[in-house]
Assembly symmetry: C2
Homo-oligomer: 369 residues x 2
Amino acid sequence: MRGPRYTPIVAALPQTVPFVGPEKMERDRGAPFIARLGANESVFGPSPKAIAAMQGAGAEIWKYGDSTSHDLRHALAGDLGVAPENIVVGSGIDGLLNSTVRLMVGPDDHVVTSDGAYPTFNFHVAGYGGTLHKVPYRDDHEDPDALIAKAREVDAKLVYIANPDNPMGTWHSADRIQAMINALPDGCVLVLDEAYIEFAPEGTAPPMDVSDPQVLRFRTFSKAHGMAGARVGYVIGHVDLIASYDKVRNHFGMNRTAQIGALAAWADRDWLSHIQTEVARARARITDIATENGLTALPSATNFVTIDCGRDGDFARAVLQALLARGIFVRMPFVAPEDRCIRVSAGPPGMLDAFAAALPHALKEAGHG
Amino acid sequence: MRGPRYTPIVAALPQTVPFVGPEKMERDRGAPFIARLGANESVFGPSPKAIAAMQGAGAEIWKYGDSTSHDLRHALAGDLGVAPENIVVGSGIDGLLNSTVRLMVGPDDHVVTSDGAYPTFNFHVAGYGGTLHKVPYRDDHEDPDALIAKAREVDAKLVYIANPDNPMGTWHSADRIQAMINALPDGCVLVLDEAYIEFAPEGTAPPMDVSDPQVLRFRTFSKAHGMAGARVGYVIGHVDLIASYDKVRNHFGMNRTAQIGALAAWADRDWLSHIQTEVARARARITDIATENGLTALPSATNFVTIDCGRDGDFARAVLQALLARGIFVRMPFVAPEDRCIRVSAGPPGMLDAFAAALPHALKEAGHG
């Protein structure tokens, strides 16, 4: 009989996809969204210097990118106070999570995360045949103590936490995360996802300590640097751990203009400050819109605000659907009780006006009040 | 004891890298190359329309790319006479080979290729713990009969062939490849790497038959379309096989401007014709340079010419080193007896002039004559 033979792991995997993208949703509804506030992209855009650098390098796209991302790694390392050998660059945090899971997780291996945390991490754990254990959020925060306790209980090889957290926008202090690091069981590596760290208050990121062989810190150009479409992320960690990525990563996988754009974006501190200001303003506005509608916005250390719709998941899903039908692309947590919320990305005034105009109708349609 | 725990497969992998990139070589030698003719890039560049499309989309890099590469897949499918569901787009053939191997190969699984064929495929097979079996080239061609015989002997899940071949530039007729397809053992999938197909004579590519669940055809925008740095490749195959990639691929891994550029490049047939003409001219020139130096150029159906240096691997390696020292970046086959050759990519007249000027000195330095 003709046909392929999949691995047992692949044969057992469901045909699921972690996220449906807004372009597909637009095609399905037959109209573009008027406010793209669902994917925590930086709607304010990247540094004009990054755009110019990428445009200037356009004609050189015939060249493969530098397989070592040398210039970018050196720039990052210099500013972060680590060696270039402590950094690996990859195609976004998603791609780097894939490699990370692949390095350590196979059948019979255990991994711990929070129930409702980043689904793409879970996708990779399942994809390599690992067993995922989930602990609940506590008061809309990931729960470091519960994560560590579970990691110890199941002898986990990896434990995941995002600080600040997605999808809730909440965060822990550097001290709390450092205590979690100190409490890691032997042989367990912390996947510390800091995608949103640039939006968090001072004192959220623990000190860099690349002598610790059990901590990997994930950062990205997709959020504060406004380059989600470029696919540039990086991991900071112990030299041995970072060197291990060379065994499995797609060495020539980086887009060349993305490397060049990221380098220019990294150098543009003024633009980063500008974005931080715009995001703070947008968070305040989204919070006001929530309040005006009788809802409660959670405090946020990210570029989005999670709004408690005040009832159950079915109600929040109805609100979300009504917003989508009005051309407002937002998302929401997948798991109860966090799924009583919707999640709205920071955006420019025009898009937030559209959200503000649609929300009362969406709430009414969902049966509010 | 603190520290990570790798999977047994990863722990056993060597700390090797398939290719050293030219940027690293330039840094190591402390000077840029004057002729970049080693990586089979399209030195003539991409379509100006593709460049313009990418530049025009630069400010939208804050958006994630379309996770389904909808527009590109539809354009490709329409022209190739298949359905969009027969195509998966990924970050170059390298990234797609990774996913392909992952879908089917684990420990205890067997894979067949030619000794000296594309090393990145071998890197992935090793990376997923598979056992690789190699058959020799025959008269500087990959040997379909030997590949099939070995696949049958070891009950291979995958068998790899590139047509046209890299690093030799040689090719088989469509009939010969079709006979290979027809002879595939049960449960063995053919990885048909057609990265260079646009440079081959009519009658090199067998007919598209996406009803066959044992054939995957790999194509790319890195070669004839001049977009190696963008990282856009695609696989054409049976709907079920193509759908399986969704289980493991990095769904939001595509660079957005790369998707847009590829779409524009695909539409620009005139540029493709122009490149085919330029490459044919460059192949003739490289062949002449070889002849003038008493060497033999192999016939080529690619955008490079493999030159038989007439002696053994040590001699060819010495020629290569002498060329590199003169700023001429070329590469060569890794394995005897093909390593008696060097491989020179098509390029514009200026770069070929530089190659022509350096070659006699390199040959002399290597002890020729």
